[in-house]
């Protein structure tokens, strides 16, 4: 199957690039920026499946990210649960919560999911802030132990970089597989016409629910990795503002493209770091770049790249014919 081979090639190139990058960077600080970028990319790949493929909007993925971080962090820091188990519990619990939210809302057509997740995000924020005994309140949860896998603690940033990069690659591979299947076709179909999808037997509520839960699970995975990297979690990192940033990453990257999602997440994570040099006009530049992106790349980084490649190939072919 040709598309699969293309995916395999893409993933191979990506893995190589990912593995080499830290050795090309001169500043260790960039490695930690990339790690944060990978967390965001894991969330955005999932959110992109929900938005770009199934056409459902969530305003609560910041909260799922936060739940992953807090649940795992609290279990490990306060109750001494081994990190692997704490992370697993956090991911499963977040998935179950998403399922509970999705069941009543995704049966209805319309933007009920956006509203429900918005409300959910607010509630989660309140809990993070107010349950001071458990969460540490507004000043945050501290003392979260570093990630340990199979008895090895990922002390160095470089080892953490590879663990996170591998997790992202796995998330990408699973998503690519999912998209090129009966399930992916069903998602894209119901995005265009729910009635026509139902007509050929697609249980649309079930598929929306599945992709919603999956995207929440990805967000929770990113949250777990975050908590055991920074050793710290504060409510402000997981609020409405961050949920919206995630949506911007999806749109900027390009709806309905796994590669676009990764590009959008990495670009928007790195951009503020580069703009830091322009101290005073940082925010203005950030906004300006976003607006330019939307104007000139209506189908996002992914769509723009595809178009550019086609244009270049076209020119190349024309050139070749002339010779």
């Amino acid at each position: 199957m040709a598309p699969t081979r293309k995916n395999l090639l893409g993933l191979g190139a990506w893995t190589l690039l990912m593995a080499l990058t830290p050795h090309l960077l001169t500043n260790d600080y960039y490695v930690s920026t990339l790690i944060i970028g990978f967390f965001n990319a894991i969330i955005v790949v999932g959110l992109n499946m929900l938005m770009g493929y199934a056409g459902q909007i969530s305003l609560g993925h910041g909260a799922f990210y936060g739940l992953g971080a807090y649940v795992s962090g609290i279990l490990a820091a306060t109750y001494g649960v081994p990190v692997e188990a704490a992370g697993l519990i956090a991911i499963i619990a977040t998935g179950l919560i998403a399922w509970g939210i999705g069941i009543p809302t995704l049966k209805l057509s319309g933007h009920y999911l956006a509203m429900a997740t918005l409300g959910f995000g607010v509630i989660v924020s309140i809990v993070f802030n107010e349950a001071v005994e458990t969460t540490g309140g507004p000043s945050g949860l501290t003392g979260i132990p570093r990630l340990t896998l199979f008895g090895i603690t990922m002390e160095s940033d470089l080892s953490y970089y590879y663990v996170t990069g591998l997790a992202l690659t796995l998330v990408m591979a699973l998503s690519l597989n999912l998209i090129q299947s009966r399930l992916g076709r069903a998602l894209r179909a119901l995005h265009t016409s729910e009635r026509a999808a139902e007509a050929v037997g697609v249980d649309i509520a079930r598929y929306k629910l599945f992709v919603f839960v999956l995207s929440a699970v990805f967000a929770a995975l990113a949250g777990v990795l975050y908590a055991h990297y920074l050793g710290f979690a504060a409510p402000s990192s997981f609020g409405f503002h961050f949920s919206v940033t995630l949506l911007v990453m999806v749109v900027l990257g390009g709806m309905a493209s796994v590669w676009g999602a990764v590009a959008g997440a990495l670009f928007l994570t790195a951009l503020p770091e580069f703009l830091r040099a322009f101290e005073n006009i940082e925010t203005v530049l950030f906004g300006g770049i976003l607006i330019l992106g939307m104007m000139f790349l209506p189908s996002g980084l992914a769509g723009g790249t595809a178009k550019l490649t086609r244009a270049l190939l076209g020119r190349f072919r024309v050139g070749a014919r002339r010779v």
């Binding site: 999912l178 009966r182 076709r185 894209r188 139902e198």
Partner: protein, 257 residues
């Protein structure tokens, strides 16, 4: 055996409008049954009730001898009752082949884990689905358009593609809502042959909602006439054509145009 599809006393209201009033419909297994009637007679609404997409205020629908009145639309699709739409519902962002492969949905035999991991079963089933879809595309004469974006196809071909998508589901019952709308005489002729061929080669029972009287009279085994949401007449095409009520209420109107 009783009818493949039986609708009894179906009543539908949209606000104050009574779209259907105690309508009955019987579709015999293996038949081509047409529903005709003036604009707004309730034909599309009747297909909507049959396929579970329109809520009826009263009445019952049974399919394959089972009462499906409470079954959701997707369950009826999955049980083999598949419909097309009067206003095209094409998955425009997908290729023609992907559209038709979506039609295979109900008989692709793998689960989520199979597709996450691309198991052997996944590959086998996916290959089978692809070949099946290509066969159906070939059947409607669209094999050469498999890789085109569905939204880029001309209107007439989008209609054909919708039929290919529906028959890719291997339906027991196919509900076609004005498949000839917007087609020219030659295309309509070809469509008639296609519909007959679907019945002959795949043994599919067909319900056809259509305004084109020549087409209806040529290929139908039974014709049901609806007017203002009520059954006006039902029977073989020759009998319905001669029915004074029908001539007065419906065919007569046509002559005046």
């Amino acid at each position: 055996m009783s009818s493949l599809l039986a609708m009894r006393g179906v009543t539908v209201r949209f606000g104050g409008v009574v779209a259907l009033a105690e309508v009955d419909l019987d579709v015999a297994l293996g038949s081509i049954t047409s529903i005709i009637g003036p604009n707004g007679a309730g034909k599309t609404t009747l297909l909507g009730v049959a396929s579970g997409m329109v809520q009826a205020a009263a009445g019952a629908v049974s399919f394959l001898d089972r009462d499906v009145s409470a079954a959701p639309a997707h369950a009826r699709g999955a049980a083999g009752m598949v419909r097309t739409f009067q206003n095209l519902e094409v998955f425009s962002n997908m290729t023609v082949l992907e559209n038709v492969m979506t039609g295979c949905h109900r008989h692709v035999g793998y689960g989520v884990v199979d597709c996450l991991l691309r198991t052997g079963r996944f590959r086998r089933e996916e290959r089978r689905c692809r070949e099946h879809a290509l066969k159906r595309l070939d059947f409607v004469g669209l094999a050469d358009k498999a890789e085109s974006r569905a939204g880029d196809l001309p209107y007439g071909l989008q209609r054909r593609m919708e039929i290919a998508r529906a028959i890719a589901a291997d339906p027991t019952l196919l509900l076609l809502d004005e498949p000839a709308a917007g087609l020219n005489t030659r295309e309509t002729q070809a469509l008639g042959e296609l519909i007959t061929a679907i019945r002959e080669s795949q043994g599919v029972t067909i319900v056809l909602v259509e305004h084109d009287m020549d087409l209806v009279m040529r290929i139908s085994d039974a014709v049901m006439v609806l007017k203002e949401g009520r059954n006006l007449a039902v029977g073989p095409p020759e009998a319905v054509q001669k029915d004074p009520e029908v001539i007065k209420a419906y065919l007569g109107e046509d002559d005046e145009d």
